[in-house]
């Protein structure tokens, strides 16, 4: 992956299984890769005070977020010997059961993908200005807090 400029990580709405399949398929020409590791964040229908979350509406400080994603990419390539890395995060409404975060790392060997993937996901959770508004079935809402 020579493309190291900040790029737009955000996609509108949920990330579909087909999008993920297409991304996997694109790596089949990269025959030095032996191991892929993929993290998917899925919106949970948590119950809070007898009300169920039906969706999360994501907003972000987009310029800062894309720069942070870029910094995380650079740091990860510096720490781990990866063949490639892709990050996608939803903006807008993602329903319970749908995917809002897709992180994909690949390497010739497996050990490094496990470490790298967890590092990337934790960095995203901690350092990227994305904000989730949890919408309940009765249209009331609360703001998501990462744990």
């Amino acid at each position: 992956m020579k493309d190291r400029k900040p790029k737009n990580v955000f996609v509108e709405g949920a990330i579909s299984p087909e999008f993920i399949a297409t991304s996997i398929a694109k790596h089949q020409s990269k025959t030095s890769i032996g191991a892929h590791d993929i993290f998917l964040g899925q919106v949970r229908a948590d119950m809070v005070d007898n009300k169920t979350i039906k969706a999360i509406e994501y907003t972000a400080y987009e310029e800062m977020a894309n720069n942070k994603f870029h910094e995380i990419r650079e740091a990860t390539f510096g720490k781990y010997e990866l063949s490639c890395m892709h990050i996608y995060h939803s903006l807008g409404t993602v329903n319970a059961g749908e995917i809002c975060l897709f992180v994909f790392v690949s390497s010739p060997r497996r050990k490094v993908v496990f470490e790298a993937l967890e590092y990337v996901v934790e960095e995203i959770k901690a350092n990227v200005p994305v904000f989730g508004r949890e919408i309940f079935e009765d249209e009331s809402h609360q703001w998501k807090v990462n744990t």
């Binding site: 400080y61 800062m64 977020a65 809002c100 996901v121 200005p129 904000f131 703001w143 990462n146």
Partner: protein
Amino acid sequence: MSTNIKYFGLLAEITSCREESLGNSPSTVNELLELLFEKYPDLKEKDFRVAIDQQLVTEDTQITGGEIALLPPFSGG
């Protein structure tokens, strides 16, 4: 000089806007916060950080222009 501020997430709900221009020119983050707490008393209760030009800053940071943003806890993923 006016001061432009972006609000995100919960904070944009409190201020009822995503972006505004303050007439005043506070010289430090601390001064800015005092102005904002006066304008939006509910902000005081909230946990947030301040970024200038997309870098997180502390209360004693000098403001010399740039894009100011108030960021509630991140909750991506």
